[in-house]
């Protein structure tokens, strides 16, 4: 009955929601920042550690829907080992994908499982909240990020 929903809720998303990766507090993080979606109450804290000009560790904590939890989980996996510029570039690509702009899907790797979200305007912010939070962190902000 809900087969058509599989475009949005792919099995990978359920997997990351059930067992989010890097879901932990990082006591020795170089930077941390809060992200908040006032519309639905989703909130997360993002922790990042740098070494040799690269993101050496990324983790998060918080509560959110399956889409935002999976998005944060996938994001913390993929940005590890990237330079700030690479992570920023990925944010730009991800944002384009989530809002339905044309984008080279190969560059997005497994983040492509979230492509279906562009068909659900009310849910785009769920997927982009972790990325907006990362973007603000990389730009040196310490203020909580909101999607509104």
């Amino acid at each position: 009955m809900l087969d058509d929903l599989r475009d949005l809720y792919q099995e990978v998303i359920f997997d990351h929601n059930r067992n989010p990766r890097n879901f932990r507090k990082m006591d020795d993080a170089d930077r941390q920042i809060d992200g908040f979606n006032p519309l639905c109450g989703d909130r997360l804290t993002l922790f990042i550690k740098f070494s040799d000009g690269k993101i050496s560790d990324a983790s998060f904590q918080g509560q959110g829907c399956a889409i935002s939890t999976a998005s944060a989980s996938l994001m913390t996996e993929i940005v590890k080992g990237q330079t700030e510029e690479e992570a920023q570039h990925l944010f730009t690509l991800f944002h384009k994908m989530a809002t339905g702009e044309p984008v080279e899907m190969d560059e997005l790797g497994k983040l492509a499982v979230l492509a279906g979200v562009c068909e659900y305007p009310a849910r785009v912010k769920c997927a982009t909240l972790p990325w907006h939070t990362l973007d603000a962190l990389l730009q040196g902000s310490e203020e909580p990020v909101t999607t509104e």
Partner: protein, 413 residues
Amino acid sequence: MNQSVENLIAYDVEQIRQDFPILDQEIRGKKLVYLDNAATSQKPKSVIESIVHYYENDNANIHRGVHTLSERATLSYENARKTVQKFLNADSEKEIVFTRGATEAINLVANAFAEKISVGDEILITAMEHHSNIVPWQMLCKKTGAELKVAPINEQGELIFEEFEALISKKTKFAAISHMSNALGTINPIKQMIDLLHQSGIPVLVDGAQAIPHISVDVQALDCEFYVFSGHKLYAPTGIGALYGKMEQLEQMAPYQGGGDMISVVTFDKTVYNKVPYKFEAGTPNIAGTIGLGAAIDYVSNIGVDAIAAHENSLLDYAVEQSKRIDKFKIIGTAENKGAIMSFVLDGIHPHDIGTMMDHQGIAVRAGHHCAMPVMDFFGVPATARASFAMYNTHQEVDALMAGIENLIEMFG
């Protein structure tokens, strides 16, 4: 046979559904099941037609021209005021002020009371208020130096009456209380609350936004100073609502906004304000919406608020009973006296996911904090899903709701 049983037997939900054209449609290939009535209700044909009729035949500005259209528009507008007066059993139609909705009505009163409140005073509300009955009072407190006091609720989402009573003191200068909670469905014992507040001479505003489609209101019996509601939850258009205020209160109150229609004489030196209620209705109002509100009240009154409530309560009882078969299902707000609102959470599934997955089955429920973040904090949830029932919902739709929830639980695995 008592009246309510007679009404229930005579209640023909299929006939009522015929009056709501919007219900007859499919969403994503499935029959629409609209269960977001606490956010806004659908509109019957008679309301839609009253607006069309007004714009096609009578449209003109009110309280000014002497021409025929203006007279017709004015008459229709003022008739709606009488309709609201009768619906609330106010003493005079002059005690009815049209506003954009409950929110504007509360802001109007809070604004007027700013003159009477000062440092050290207290405003009393409850922990189950909608943001619209919190924020205007916070703003008033900030402006005046008064303090906002919040009467707590228990785990069922009921007001703890003794604690409410204990918060009343000589410092309490105003109370603003919800008749029925939009997030929990709790119906407050407002008559006892008002009587108690009046023993200390405290004026009371009742936020009836959620109660108005479910509970017969008699403002004279309640004896509240103010009662506010929004039309759109009462099958009327958005952007129209009303403030009831006792005449002695309204006469003392400063205008909310300045402009046309709220004046009797204007010179550059000074302005003489118009009489109540026009003093509070600056500018050209929502004439069509007001006429639509009158038509909605006529429609509701024809069926009867008590008959509607009996039908909705039977849907709620059925939904609560059916939900017991779903292990992960937890109802938030289990007050003994509650209206047809079922806020719920599913263990391990976020309400936003519930909302999207229900929509895919044609079922409209609300997912979010319901403009009541403090209530969410109290229950330790970021949000809830909410099914809320109206006069046109059916037991089959409750079945569809439950089947939809079981489907999504299965999908989540």
